[in-house]
C-alpha cells in the first residue's frame, strides 16, 4: 500500500504513575541539546499537560514529533511521522517504529523519569490521512493485511491484529500485539 501522508505509532506506558508529565519537559529540552536524533530536525518542546486527555508534552520536529501523550486517557510515547518521503506503507511504519523504540529506550534510561517503562508488546498505529486512509472496514482490513508481515517480523509470529474501530470520524487505528519489540528485532525486520 502507498504510505499515508501522516500517521503515528504509539506504545503505552506500563507505569505512568511513577512520573509527572511535566518531568518530560526538561528531558526533551536536553534531548534537543544532545541532538538525540541526528537524522531528524528537532525544533522545540510544546507543553500541553494542561489539556485533559491531550497530546501531553511534544518534542516537535520537522520530520516527526515525539510525544508523551495522554490522548483517550492512554498514556504512552508516540512518534508522529509528518514528512513521509518513502513510498510504501510498510517501510514508513518500519522507520517510525525504529524512531519510537529508540526514544522509548532512551526515556526508560532517564533517571529523571523515575523508572518509567513502556509495554513493548503492543503497538498502536493511527493514520492521520482521511483522504487515503478513511476509517472504514475495507481500509482497516487492507491496512491490517499489508502490515501483518512487518508486525510478525517485529512482534513475533503469534501477533494479533485488532481492527476494531470506534467512532468513524476518528482516524483509522490498528493495534498489533505480540512479543516485545526491540531495536534488535527492528534491525532484522
Amino acid at each position: 500500500m502507498k504510505a499515508p501522508k501522516r500517521f503515528f505509532v504509539k506504545l503505552f506506558a506500563s507505569n505512568p504513575e511513577v512520573v509527572d508529565a511535566e518531568e518530560f519537559v526538561p528531558v526533551f529540552q536536553r534531548w534537543i541539546q544532545e541532538n538525540f536524533a541526528p537524522d531528524e530536525l528537532i525544533i522545540d518542546v510544546a507543553d500541553y499537560k494542561h489539556v485533559p486527555q491531550g497530546p501531553g508534552i511534544i518534542l516537535i520536529g520537522h520530520d516527526g514529533d515525539y510525544a508523551y501523550d495522554f490522548v483517550h486517557g492512554k498514556v504512552g510515547l508516540q512518534y508522529t511521522f509528518k514528512q513521509v518521503k518513502v513510498e510504501s506503507l510498510e517501510e514508513a511504519v518500519s522507520i517510525a517504529l525504529k524512531r519510537v523504540v529508540t526514544a522509548i529506550e532512551k526515556a526508560e534510561a532517564e533517571d529523571a523519569l523515575n523508572g518509567i517503562t513502556f509495554d513493548k508488546t503492543k503497538v498502536q498505529i493511527t493514520f492521520l490521512d482521511r483522504l487515503n486512509y478513511p476509517n472504514d472496514e475495507e481500509t482497516a482490513k487492507a491496512t491490517g493485511e499489508a502490515l501483518t508481515p512487518l508486525a510478525k517480523s517485529t512482534l513475533g509470529g503469534g501477533v494479533t491484529v485488532d481492527l476494531t474501530q470506534s467512532d468513524p470520524r476518528e482516524p483509522l487505528t490498528i493495534v498489533f500485539e505480540g512479543e516485545p519489540i526491540s531495536l534488535n528485532t527492528l534491525a532484522t525486520a
Binding site: R30, Y48, V51, P52, G54, P55, H62, R130, L131, D167
Partner: protein
C-alpha cells in the same frame, strides 16, 4: 480519489475554491522564484498563514543558538522565513459562530495537519500551530467546504469581526447584533477599499454598553447598539467609535457618531476604510493603525473627512440589501424546547459549575453554558465530542469567545445536568468560567516570534495555584480578571484586565531574567472602559507572590462594594508601587538560579558565554544606576497623570526617555552632559543611525518614540497624549534595557 481538491469539487463555494487555487498558484510561483518573498509573505498572511517562532532557522537551545537546517534551505516564504518552517494558521470565525459540521472539520484538521490542539484566540479566531505551508491549500479547501474562509485572517486587512457571545440572548442588550456583524464581515471581505491599508483593522459589535460585551472601545471601529424613536417607530442603529486599540500604545476609541441607522453602517465602514487607506501611514508600520490617524487628525477632522467620503461614495446595492434579504430571516433555532430545571437528581459539583458557567438567557427556559478551556486549548477528540453534545442539545448554536472559551447557546434548562455530565466526560466541565481562575493568555514564547516571556507558562502556573484554592477565594477576588501577554503587543489584552501582566526581561550580571510588567486597574466591563497602567516589572518567578499580595491587600483594604479599579484609584499609584517594590529586586544567578528560567522551561533563560571584564562591569553598574533614574521619572509621570496634571505627566515621561537614552549613551560616552539636544543627538548618532538600538523585530520603533517626541512636542497636552507619551516612555525604557544587554555582551536568546 487523489486529492481533496477533487473530492470537494462542487461542495466548496466557487469563489472560495477559485481563491484557494490562486493561492496555490502563488505558492508555486514563489517556489520557482517568480514571486518576491515579501509579496508572497503578504499574500499568505492575507490567507491566514502566519509565521511562527524559529521560522528564521535559529533557535537558542539553552546552551547556544543553533541553526535549524530546514530541508529547502534556499526557499523562503517571506523575508528571513524558511519555507519548511512550521507556521500558524489563523481561522477567522465572524462573531465567533460555529456549526456542528464546522466543529467536526476543524477537529480533523487539527489532528491531520497540526498538533492535535485547537487554540481559541482573544479575537474569536481558532489557530492551528505547527502547520506546513504545503498543507495549507487543502486545509483551506476543507474549511471552505463548510463555509469558512481564512481570507484576511492576518495581514493588512480587515481582521475577524467580533461580537459579544451573548448577542441575542442577553438581558441587557438593545437588540441582537449578530446579523449586523455577519453582514459587515461579508461586505468587507475582499472589498476593494480594504486592500490598501498600512496595517490591520479590527472591528467589533456590542449590544449593550455596561458589560464587556464586544469591547468596542478598544477597536479600530466599534459599533454599539442604539435605538431612536422617530414618528412612533423604533429605528435600530449604532453609536460608532473609531481609533481605539491596544497594541504597544493603547488608545481609547473616540465617538465618531452618536447614532448611525442600520442602513448606513456598511457605507460608513467603507468610507472610514477609504480615508484610512488614503491618509493612514504606510511607511512606518508602528504608526500605521487607524488610532494614530485619528489622533493625528483629531476626531473632528477625521469625522469631516469620513463625511466627505460618504458623500462621494459610489452607489452600491449591497449597502442595504442585507436589511431586506438577511435580517428578517435571521434567527437561531434551538434543538430542544426550553423547559425548567426541576427536581431531577443533579451530578456532584453541579451547583458550583452552574454558578459560574451558566447564564440564564432572556428567553425563558434556556441558558448559555460557558466551557472553560485551559489556556484556550482543546483537542481534536474533545472538539468532535463537543460537536456531538451540540448536535444533541443545541444544534448549530456554538460560539467561541474573546476570553478563549466556547459557549453553548440555547441549552434547555432541563438539560443542564445532562450537558454538565456530557462535558465532564470529555474533560470540559471545569467550573470557574469568567472568574479569576479563567486566565487569558496569548501564545507568548511558546510559538510567537515576538514573545519575550512565557505568558502561557505563567498563566498555567497561576491557574493551577488559584484553582487549588478556588473554593476559599473571597467573591471580590473571584470576580477579578487576569490577562497576560508575552510582550508589549497586548495580544493577551493585559491593558483591560484588573490585573494584567506583559513579558519583558531584565539583566542581572551576565544573564537575562524573564520578567513581567504588572499592569493594574484596567477595566474589562463597559466595553473595555479604561486601560490599566504599568506599575513595575517583577521577575517571572515572583508573579504568583505579587498576585497574592495584591489580592490580599485588596480584600483587606477595600471598602464595601468597592471594585478593584476604584481601590487602585483610591490607593494611588505610589502606594500600589510600594506593594510590589519588594519583589522588584534582581538577585544574582548564584543567589536564586530558579529566577533565571521561565515558567514551564527548565533551561536558563539566557546565558552570557562571553566574559565581561571589570571595566564592562563598571559600565553595567553605571547603566543600572542611571536607568533607575529614568524609571523613577517615569513613575512620577504616572503620578502626575493620576493627579490630572497632563502637561507635567507628558514632560516627565519625555524626561524619562531622555534619562534612559543618557544611561545608554554614557556606556559609550561618559561626558555627554545633561543637555537633551546633545543626548538625543548622541543617542541618534551612536545607537539609532548605527542600528545598535534596533532589535530583530521592532527595529527602530521604540527609538522613534524618543526622536519624535523630542522633535515634535505636543502643542496642547491633554490626557490622551500625556498617556501616550507615558506608554511610549515605558516601552523606550524597556527597549533601552534590551539594547544595553545586547550591546554589552549578554547573549539574548
Amino acid at each position: 480519489m487523489t486529492s481533496w481538491k477533487e473530492k470537494l469539487q462542487g461542495i466548496m463555494p466557487d469563489d472560495l475554491a477559485r481563491e484557494i487555487d490562486v493561492f496555490e498558484g502563488q505558492m508555486e510561483l514563489r517556489k520557482q522564484g517568480k514571486l518576491a518573498e515579501n509579496v508572497f509573505a503578504e499574500t499568505r498572511l492575507r490567507r491566514g498563514a502566519y509565521g511562527q517562532r524559529y521560522d528564521n532557522g535559529q533557535r537558542h537551545d539553552g546552551v547556544e543558538t543553533r541553526e535549524l537546517n530546514f530541508p529547502n534551505d534556499d526557499l523562503y516564504k517571506g523575508p528571513d522565513t524558511y519555507w519548511d518552517a512550521p507556521g500558524m494558521m489563523r481561522i477567522k470565525l465572524p462573531f465567533g459562530g460555529l456549526t456542528v459540521a464546522q466543529m467536526n472539520v476543524l477537529a480533523d484538521l487539527a489532528d491531520e495537519y497540526s498538533d492535535n490542539i485547537l487554540h481559541i484566540t482573544t479575537r474569536q479566531d481558532i489557530q492551528l500551530h505547527y502547520i506546513q505551508i504545503d498543507d495549507t491549500p487543502d486545509l483551506m479547501r476543507r474549511l471552505a467546504a463548510v463555509g469558512i474562509t481564512t481570507r484576511e485572517a492576518c495581514g493588512n486587512s480587515v481582521r475577524n469581526i467580533t461580537a459579544c457571545e451573548r448577542s441575542g440572548v442577553c438581558h441587557d442588550e438593545l437588540f441582537d447584533v449578530t446579523p449586523y456583524s455577519d453582514a459587515m464581515a461579508q461586505f468587507l471581505l475582499g472589498h476593494d477599499d480594504v486592500q490598501d491599508f498600512g496595517r490591520k483593522m479590527k472591528i467589533a459589535f456590542s449590544g449593550c454598553e455596561q458589560h464587556a460585551c464586544g469591547l468596542v472601545k478598544m477597536h479600530d471601529i466599534g459599533f454599539l447598539a442604539r435605538t431612536v424613536e422617530k414618528d412612533g417607530e423604533t429605528i435600530k442603529g449604532f453609536m460608532v467609535f473609531v481609533g481605539g486599540g491596544l497594541g504597544t500604545v493603547p488608545h481609547q476609541a473616540k465617538i465618531l457618531a452618536d447614532f448611525v441607522a442600520e442602513d448606513k453602517i456598511l457605507p460608513l465602514s467603507q468610507a472610514i476604510s477609504r480615508v484610512f487607506a488614503r491618509l493612514g501611514e504606510k511607511q512606518n508600520r508602528n504608526r500605521a493603525r487607524l488610532k494614530f490617524l485619528v489622533a493625528k487628525l483629531g476626531i473632528e477632522e477625521f469625522r469631516r473627512l469620513v463625511q466627505e467620503e460618504l458623500e462621494i461614495l459610489p452607489e452600491d446595492e449591497q449597502h442595504t440589501a442585507y436589511i431586506e434579504e438577511k435580517l428578517p430571516q435571521y434567527a437561531e433555532t434551538p434543538a430542544r424546547q426550553g423547559l425548567t430545571l426541576n427536581g431531577a437528581p443533579l451530578p456532584d459539583d453541579f451547583y458550583d459549575w452552574y454558578r459560574t458557567n451558566v447564564y440564564k438567557q432572556k428567553q425563558a427556559g434556556y441558558s448559555l453554558v460557558t466551557i472553560k478551556l485551559p489556556l484556550g486549548d482543546l483537542t481534536s477528540w474533545q472538539m468532535r465530542q463537543l460537536a456531538d453534545v451540540a448536535e444533541e442539545y443545541i444544534g448549530d448554536n456554538v460560539r467561541v469567545t474573546v476570553e478563549q472559551n466556547i459557549v453553548l447557546r440555547w441549552v434547555s434548562d432541563k438539560d443542564l445536568p445532562e450537558v454538565y455530565r456530557a462535558l465532564n466526560a470529555i474533560g470540559l466541565g471545569s467550573a470557574g468560567a469568567d472568574t479569576i481562575v479563567d486566565i487569558t493568555s496569548c501564545p507568548g514564547t511558546d510559538t510567537c516570534k515576538l514573545g519575550i516571556a512565557s505568558s502561557r507558562g505563567l498563566a498555567g502556573e497561576l491557574g493551577k495555584r488559584l484553582e487549588a484554592k478556588r473554593a476559599e477565594l473571597p467573591q471580590a477576588v473571584e470576580d477579578l480578571k487576569i490577562k497576560i501577554s508575552g510582550c508589549f503587543n497586548s495580544c493577551g489584552q493585559h491593558h483591560v484586565a484588573d490585573i494584567g501582566f506583559f513579558g519583558n526581561s531584565r539583566r542581572s550580571g551576565n544573564h537575562k531574567v524573564p520578567h513581567f510588567q504588572v499592569v493594574l486597574g484596567g477595566e474589562w466591563h463597559n466595553n473595555a472602559g479604561s486601560y490599566g497602567l504599568a506599575m513595575g516589572a517583577v521577575p517571572a518567578k515572583l508573579v504568583p507572590d505579587v498576585l497574592e499580595v495584591i489580592t490580599n491587600t485588596y480584600v483587606a483594604e477595600r471598602d464595601e462594594e468597592e471594585n478593584f479599579q476604584a481601590w487602585v484609584e483610591r490607593k494611588g499609584k505610589r502606594e500600589m508601587k510600594d506593594l510590589i517594590k519588594p519583589y522588584m529586586e534582581l538577585p544574582t544567578i548564584e543567589e536564586k538560579p530558579q529566577f533565571f528560567s521561565d515558567w514551564g522551561d527548565s533551561r536558563i533563560y539566557s546565558i552570557a558565554d562571553i566574559g565581561i571584564g571589570e571595566c564592562a562591569g563598571e559600565v553595567v553598574s553605571l547603566f543600572s544606576m542611571e536607568i533607575s533614574r529614568a524609571e523613577s521619572e517615569h513613575f512620577d509621570a504616572l503620578i502626575a497623570l493620576d493627579e490630572g496634571d497632563y502637561e507635567l505627566a507628558d514632560k516627565r515621561a519625555y524626561n524619562a526617555m531622555i534619562l534612559a537614552a543618557r544611561a545608554l549613551v554614557r556606556t559609550a560616552f561618559l561626558d555627554v552632559g545633561d543637555d537633551p539636544d546633545v543626548i538625543v543627538n548622541e543617542f541618534k548618532t551612536r545607537f539609532y543611525d548605527t542600528q545598535l538600538f534596533f532589535d530583530r523585530f521592532a527595529k527602530g520603533k521604540f527609538a522613534g518614540y524618543l526622536l519624535n517626541r523630542h522633535e515634535n512636542p505636543f502643542e496642547n497636552v491633554n490626557e490622551d497624549n500625556a498617556h501616550q507619551t507615558i506608554e511610549e516612555a515605558q516601552l523606550f525604557i524597556e527597549a533601552t534595557h534590551a539594547a544595553e544587554g545586547r550591546i554589552n555582551g549578554v547573549i539574548v536568546s
